[in-house]
Symmetry: C2
Subunit: 469 residues, 2 copies
C-alpha cells in the first residue's frame, strides 16, 4: 500500500470532498474561518454556525458537480445569495459546503416584448433594476435589503410593492434548479400562465434551499408607470389608519404601495432621513398609471382616508420629494436602530387577515410596553403584513428572554387570527416551532416531499422543519 | 366455515370495498352503468372509461373514510366536480370510485372585510357569485364552463379575467385536502401572503386529483368595480390586433379583460348571439375602476388600438349592451359548434410568450386550411393563451387523424416558442406525451412527489404522467 493510498483510506468524507472540490474549483474554494463565518447567519441575531468550506461556482455545471460530490459524500449544502435572510437560513448546524452564488450574477436575457428577463441567481434586486433601466421595465419585488434574486426566490420574499404586484410566487415564471444529486431540471415556461402538471416553480419558491439550488430564474417584469404620485396620510390613531386601508382594499382601488409607520418609527425617520413629519401613525402611499389614473386614485384614496379620520394628507408627483419619502421608508430599519445606539435589531413578521390587523398591531404595542421593550411598527398593511423592529441590547440576557416571549406572542396572536407567523421572511431556524404549530399535519406532507427529493437530507438541513436522521 | 365466511373469502377487493362503502353511504353509492358513464370523461372527445361506482359524500369525514377504504383495498379514486374538464381528467382507466362532490357545495363563510370566502368544492362558479351578490364582492375566475370550484382548483383554471386577476393559483389562499390514506390536512392560511414553508396550496392547485381530494377552499374575493365599460375593437388582420395587445401589456395598462375572436368566430357569434359585428379579427375589451379610471383606461386603449391599425372601436357603459357582448363571448364555443350542425367540438389550449402569439395563431390558421379542418380562434390574448375550437365529424376517422396532427402541431409550435401545451385545461390523459416533451426531467420530480404522497397510486391514476405499477 503506498502512502497516498493510506492517506486516502484515512480521509474523512469531508476531506475527500474538499480534495474533489479543490480539483474542480481551485481558489474558488475557501476554508478560512473568517470567510466561513461571514457565510453563516449574516443578518440575524442567532448564534453563528459556520459551514466547513465556501465555494464560488461560476456555471450551472459547476453547481451540479458540487452537489453531486456532496451527495456522494453525504455532506450538507447551504446555498448563499446576499446574506440578508433574517431567520438563520444560512447557518450550517451540521457543517457542510456553502455555495456562494455571487459569481453567477448576470442578466442572461431581457425580452421587452414579453416583459421577462432570465437572470442568474446571484444578481441583487438593485443591480437587476439598474441593468433594466434602459428598457423602461422593472422587477418590482423589493424586500428591505438588497437581496439576491435567488435568495428572494428561496424565501418567497416580497416588500412594499406586493399589494399591487404580488410576491416572488407571483413574479417568477420558470426556474433552473440543481437537485440534491446534481440533476439539473427546468420548471415552468415563458408563458404567462400554465396548467402543465405540478407547479414545481412554486414548490421551489419558498423552499429555502432545502429542495434544490436555484441556478437561473425567469422573471416577470413590469412597465415603469407613466406617472407615479407619492404621499402621506397622517392619522390620530392606529384604528383610523387601518380603517382607511381596509376601505381601499375593499374598493379594489389599485394603489401602488401603502405602508404604515407608527409614531415612533416616524420619529426615527425624521431624525435619520431629515424629514419633518408629525410623529403620529402615518400611511406612505403611492399611486401609479397614466396621470389621470394616478391622480384619480390618489383623490379617491385621500377621500376615504379623510372619512377614516386622517388629519393631514399630502402628495406630490415631484420625483425628488417622492424619492426622499420612499428612501426614508427603505431606510426605516436603520433609522429605528439609530434610536438606540449599539443595539441589535430583531424583526417580527406576522401577516394576518386585514380585519385583524389593527388589533394585532395594538396588542404588539401594548406588549412592548408591558415587557419594557423598545420597538417601532412598520407594516405592508395592504397585505396585512407588519413588522415590529425591536432594538435590543445583545448583552442583556433578561431582555433577550422578554424579546423571545414578545416575538412568540406576535406569532401566536397572528395564528389565532387565521394568519401566519411569516409573511415574507421565511422559517429558517427561527420559526420551526411556529410552523409546526401553524401547519400541523401539513408539515408531514412537507417532510414527505423533502424526503422524496432529498433522501439524504443534504440540502440546507435543519431549516423549515427537523428531519430525523 | 359458514357460508358468510366463504363469501367473504371469495370477495375481490372491489366487492369488499363496495360493501364497506354501502355501509357508510347507503343510497349515496351507485353502480348503475348510466350513472357510472356520466361520471367519466363527460366533456371530452376521448373514449369513456367508467369508474366501478359513484359516491356522493356529504362531509370531509366521509371523504376521508372513502379514501381510507380505497387505500386499504388499493382501489383508484377519481374526484368529480361539475364534469367540465376537457382532457379526460375524469376517466377511470383502472376503474375505481368516482367521488362526486356535488353534495358538498356550500358557502361556509364570507368575510367581506377580509375579501375572502370559505367554500366547499362542489359549488359552481356561477352559484358562488350568486351567493356573493349581496356582498358587493365577486370571485372573478371564469372558465368557459360553469365549473366547480374544486375542479377549477384541480386544473389550475383561469378564463377571461386572468389578465387582471390571475388564475386559480393566484386566488386560493388555503385548502383542506384529504390525502390518499384518508388523512385530512389544511394548507395555507387566511393571510394574503405567507412564507411559511413549502407552498402546498399551490402544489395541490393543478394536481388534477392525483395528490389529494380537495374538500374546502378559502378563496380571495374582489370588490365589484364601480364602473365597468365594455367594448370592441375591429382590426384588418391578426397582426394588428395582437400588436395592440402587446402595447397594452407593455404599458402595464390595467385592462379588465381583452379577448380575441377571429373573423369566423365573429361570424359564429353574429349568428348565434344575434350580434351585428363586422366579420374580422376583433378584440372584446373591458375596463374597470372609478368612472374616471375606467374611461381613461378605455381611451388609452382606444388610442393604442388605433395606432396598431384598428378600423372600428366602440364601447359602452350600458349594462345591457355590455352583457350582450360578454354573453356572446361566453357562448362562443356553442356558437362555433352551431356552424357545423352535428359536429363534436375539440379545443386546443396553447399559451405562449406574447411576442410569439401572432405567429402561433397564424400558423394554426394556415394549418387548419392545409388540413381541410374547420375551426375558430378564441384567445385570452393578454396572457398569450389561445384556443382553436375545432368542429369535427366524430364519424370521420381520416378527419380525426388530421385533427390529432393539427393539435399536436399547435402544441409543438407553442413549446418551440418557449410556451406551454396547456394554459388552463390541464394535462389529464390527453397531454401526457406533450407534458413529457415540455417538462423533460422535471416530470421525474413530479413523479417523485406523487410517489411520496400516494405510494399506492390510487389517486386519479393515469393522469398527468404514467406511473409504473
Amino acid at each position: 500500500m503506498t502512502q497516498t493510498e493510506t492517506q486516502h483510506l484515512a480521509e474523512t468524507p469531508l476531506d475527500a470532498l474538499r480534495h474533489e472540490l479543490e480539483d474542480l474549483l481551485g481558489e474558488r474554494l475557501q476554508t478560512g474561518q473568517a470567510i466561513r463565518e461571514q457565510h453563516a447567519n449574516t443578518a440575524t441575531g442567532r448564534g453563528t454556525q459556520a459551514p466547513d468550506m465556501v465555494t464560488w461556482p461560476e456555471t450551472t455545471e459547476e453547481v451540479s458537480r458540487i452537489l453531486r460530490a456532496c451527495w456522494t459524500h453525504g455532506v450538507p449544502v447551504i446555498p448563499f445569495g446576499a446574506g440578508s435572510s433574517l431567520e438563520g437560513q444560512l447557518n450550517a448546524p451540521r457543517g457542510g459546503v456553502s455555495v456562494d452564488m455571487s459569481r453567477m450574477a448576470q442578466v442572461l436575457e431581457v425580452r421587452d416584448e414579453d416583459l421577462l428577463a432570465v437572470v442568474q441567481p446571484g444578481i441583487t434586486r438593485k443591480r437587476l433594476n439598474e441593468e433594466l433601466r434602459a428598457t423602461g421595465l422593472t422587477f418590482p419585488i423589493d424586500p428591505g435589503a438588497d437581496a439576491s434574486v435567488g435568495g428572494m426566490c428561496a424565501t418567497r420574499a416580497s416588500g412594499t410593492n406586493a399589494v399591487r404586484y404580488g410576491t416572488m410566487a407571483d413574479n417568477v415564471l420558470a426556474l433552473e434548479v440543481v437537485l440534491a444529486d446534481g440533476t439539473v431540471v427546468r420548471t415552468g415556461s415563458r408563458a404567462a400562465k400554465s396548467s402543465a402538471g405540478y407547479d414545481l416553480t412554486r414548490l421551489m419558491i419558498g423552499s429555502e434551499g432545502t429542495l434544490g439550488v436555484i441556478t437561473e430564474a425567469t422573471l416577470r417584469l413590469r412597465g415603469i408607470p407613466e406617472t407615479v404620485l407619492g404621499g402621506i396620510a397622517a392619522f390620530p390613531d392606529l384604528d383610523s389608519a387601518v380603517s382607511a386601508v381596509i376601505l381601499l382594499v375593499q374598493m379594489g382601488l389599485d394603489i401602488g404601495r401603502v405602508e404604515l409607520l407608527d409614531g415612533m418609527q416616524i420619529r426615527a425617520c425624521n431624525a435619520y432621513s431629515k424629514l419633518d413629519l408629525e410623529e403620529t401613525v402615518t400611511l406612505f402611499f403611492e399611486c401609479t398609471g397614466s396621470e389621470a389614473v394616478a391622480r384619480d386614485t390618489a383623490e379617491t384614496f385621500a377621500e376615504l382616508a379623510r372619512d377614516a379620520g386622517a388629519t393631514h394628507i399630502d402628495w406630490s408627483t415631484d420625483p425628488d420629494t417622492r424619492s426622499k419619502l420612499w428612501q426614508a421608508r427603505h431606510d426605516a430599519y436603520w433609522a429605528a436602530l439609530a434610536l438606540r445606539p449599539g443595539c441589535k435589531g430583531l424583526v417580527s413578521d406576522a401577516c394576518v387577515p386585514i380585519s385583524a390587523l389593527a388589533a394585532n398591531i395594538a396588542a404588539a404595542q401594548e406588549d412592548l410596553q408591558a415587557k419594557g421593550l423598545i420597538g417601532t411598527i412598520l407594516g405592508h398593511v395592504g397585505d396585512g403584513n407588519f413588522h415590529v423592529v425591536l432594538m435590543t441590547d445583545p448583552e442583556d440576557a433578561d431582555e433577550a428572554r422578554r424579546v423571545e416571549d414578545f416575538l412568540h406572542g406576535v406569532t401566536l396572536r397572528a395564528q389565532a387570527a387565521g394568519g401566519t407567523c411569516t409573511g415574507e421572511h421565511g422559517i429558517g431556524q427561527g420559526k420551526i416551532g411556529a410552523l409546526a404549530e401553524e401547519a400541523g399535519p401539513a408539515v408531514a406532507v412537507m417532510r414527505a416531499v423533502k424526503q422524496a427529493l432529498d433522501p439524504k437530507n443534504i440540502l440546507n438541513p435543519g431549516k423549515i422543519f427537523e428531519v430525523s436522521q
